[in-house]
């Protein structure tokens, strides 16, 4: 009897592809034979658009790349421009940026654990995680007036100062978060169904991960100790003590453990940043028309999804000649096919969720 596997299309409209992604799957009674992601549905031609905008006008557009962690995109792009223009950000500005970036990582990981748990069925965890995330977004809304497309980090520093009352508000919010994270861990960590769905699923080895160019939590889950904040510190990360959570099996469960621990580390960093907030002004003097002499630079940061990089080539005018964004989700998604071969169809949902990809960042 001729053997014919089911060719299945998952997406581009599908409840668990987190955005507009299509997966072409070949399935033989629920076992995945081959998988090919198709991207481009959310391609807005950002890099072309950037070539016709000034550096200051590009920053709000970077909010829309990884729309779950807008501040990290701002930070990545802004650091590259400052390195290109040789701008020096005052220490207070750098510390506020670290606090904002780590709060953004916290919010991004909370959104991730909500989606991941909901994909695997634990629907209440989604609501608990998002309620906690709302508290962090309220801080951004109070700080600069927007929750998602924050545009809260500018070239040369930050737009507004942290007044003492706002610092206390952040600390009060951080005091309330561990309880929610603890509840999520009580619901998931030891749960036999959760372990059944995540242990040994979507495994990738350390060497393969490096070869695939994996970065961020999926890479650290295989035991490889890479964290840009530690390896190539930027924005005075070297002043803070925090440890880089690692795991060893590189499966969905370990990525979950790594991200949950990263949330705690982020809170630790924010508290240190607030405790040792230096005085002085929070932004450097930036000329209204910023012209940068011809040069090129490649700057990366540790975004919540992985290593986010910006290559900028300037040509002396106030507009960049070329901006290339290195997206962690774009590269992490490439290894989905390798990770899901041989797993079951319902695992593909779990593995895709564990990579924490955002289509805005992939399609640019």
């Amino acid at each position: 009897m001729a053997f014919k596997e089911i060719a299945l299309n998952m997406g581009p409209q599908h409840p668990s592809t987190h955005g507009v992604l299509r997966l072409k799957l070949a399935i033989d009674n629920e076992v995945v034979l081959s998988l090919e992601p198709v991207v481009g549905y959310l391609h807005r031609g950002m890099e072309k658009l950037w070539e016709s905008l000034t550096y200051t006008q590009i920053v709000p557009l970077t909010d829309r790349l990884d729309y779950i962690a807008a501040l990290s995109n701002n930070l990545g792009f802004v650091l590259a421009v400052e390195k290109l223009a040789g701008l020096e950000v005052p220490p207070r500005g750098r510390y506020i940026r670290v606090a904002l970036a780590e709060l953004q990582r916290l919010a991004s990981h909370l959104a991730w654990v909500g989606f991941q748990a909901n994909d695997i069925g634990a629907m209440s965890v989604l609501l608990y995680a998002f309620e906690a995330r709302e508290r962090v977004l309220d801080l951004f809304e109070e700080y600069i007036g927007a929750r998602l497309t924050v545009h809260g980090i500018r070239i040369g520093g930050v737009p507004r100062d942290f007044d003492p009352e706002f610092v206390r508000k952040i600390e009060r919010t951080l005091d309330g978060l561990p309880a929610t994270i603890r509840n999520i861990e009580l619901l998931l960590n030891e749960n036999r169904i959760w372990q059944e769905r995540t242990r040994g699923v979507g495994v990738v080895g350390a060497a393969e991960a490096v070869d695939f160019g994996l970065t961020g939590p999926p890479l650290r889950a295989t035991g490889v100790r890479w964290d840009i904040r530690m390896d190539v510190p930027y924005s005075s990360y070297e002043d803070f003590e925090f440890d880089v959570p690692l795991a060893e099996h590189g499966d969905v469960y370990d990525r979950y453990l790594v991200r949950m621990e990263e949330m705690r580390q982020s809170m630790r960093i924010v508290r240190q940043a607030l405790a040792r907030l230096p005085g002085g002004d929070f932004t450097a003097k930036v000329p209204r028309i910023l012209r940068i002499p011809p040069a090129e630079v490649f700057q990366t940061i540790e975004a919540p999804k992985g290593e986010l990089g910006f290559y900028i080539k300037s040509n002396g005018t106030d507009k960049p000649e070329r901006v290339k964004m290195k997206s962690p989700s774009f590269i992490n998604l490439m290894s989905l096919a390798h990770m899901s071969r041989g797993n079951l169809f319902s695992d593909v949902v779990g593995i895709l969720g564990s990579l924490d990809i955002v289509l805005g960042e992939i399609d640019k």
């Binding site: 481009g40 160019g213 190539v232 090129e296 490439m334």
Partner: protein, 165 residues
């Protein structure tokens, strides 16, 4: 050999090793803002990449960047260039390899060396029209197969073309 501006520690030995293994391969070196960019010819590119990964420990290809200097490039430089951002975890060194490219003769694909080059090269083909020899499945990644033209070229209108796809 071209001028050798003050280099940061760690790059001399890499350049020396590269020079030793492939005499004359290094066309220009540019070090600024703590980064080092090396221009190499396309001839022995594949071996250079393998050499850098296998013997020099550049385990990860961070990104591949396509460049278009416009239909009338400044003197001495071709129109297209491809840049390889590679990373050495041992001493956390980053190197940028730039290679002149053009539509006529495709560059050797780096997929055999680093698997993360797969989609990066597809994106460069999609956006610039530069082909890569030996790539397992070189086709557009963002735009539709029938779309003709390559948007990131300087002569492609920003507002796009009316009609067509």
């Amino acid at each position: 050999m071209s001028d050798r501006p003050a280099l940061l520690p760690g790059f001399e030995d890499i350049l020396a090793a590269l020079e030793g293994r492939f005499p004359g391969a290094v066309l220009a070196v540019e070090a600024a803002r703590g980064e080092c960019s090396v221009r190499v010819g396309p001839e022995r590119l594949a071996d250079i990449l393998k050499f850098l990964k296998a013997e020099q420990g550049f385990a990860a290809l961070q990104d591949m960047i396509g460049l278009d200097r416009g239909p009338a490039p400044p003197a001495g430089a071709g129109r297209f260039a491809v840049l390889y951002q590679i990373y050495r975890p041992a001493d956390r060194r980053r190197l940028r390899l730039s290679v002149e490219a053009d539509e006529a003769n495709p560059l050797p694909s780096a997929v055999a060396t680093w698997r993360s080059a797969d989609w990066a090269e597809r994106e460069i083909f999609d956006m610039f029209g530069l082909r890569f020899a030996g790539h397992p499945g070189l086709r557009r990644i963002y735009l539709d197969e029938e779309f003709d033209g390559h948007p990131l070229r300087k002569d492609f209108p920003l507002g796009g073309r009316s009609g067509g796809l």
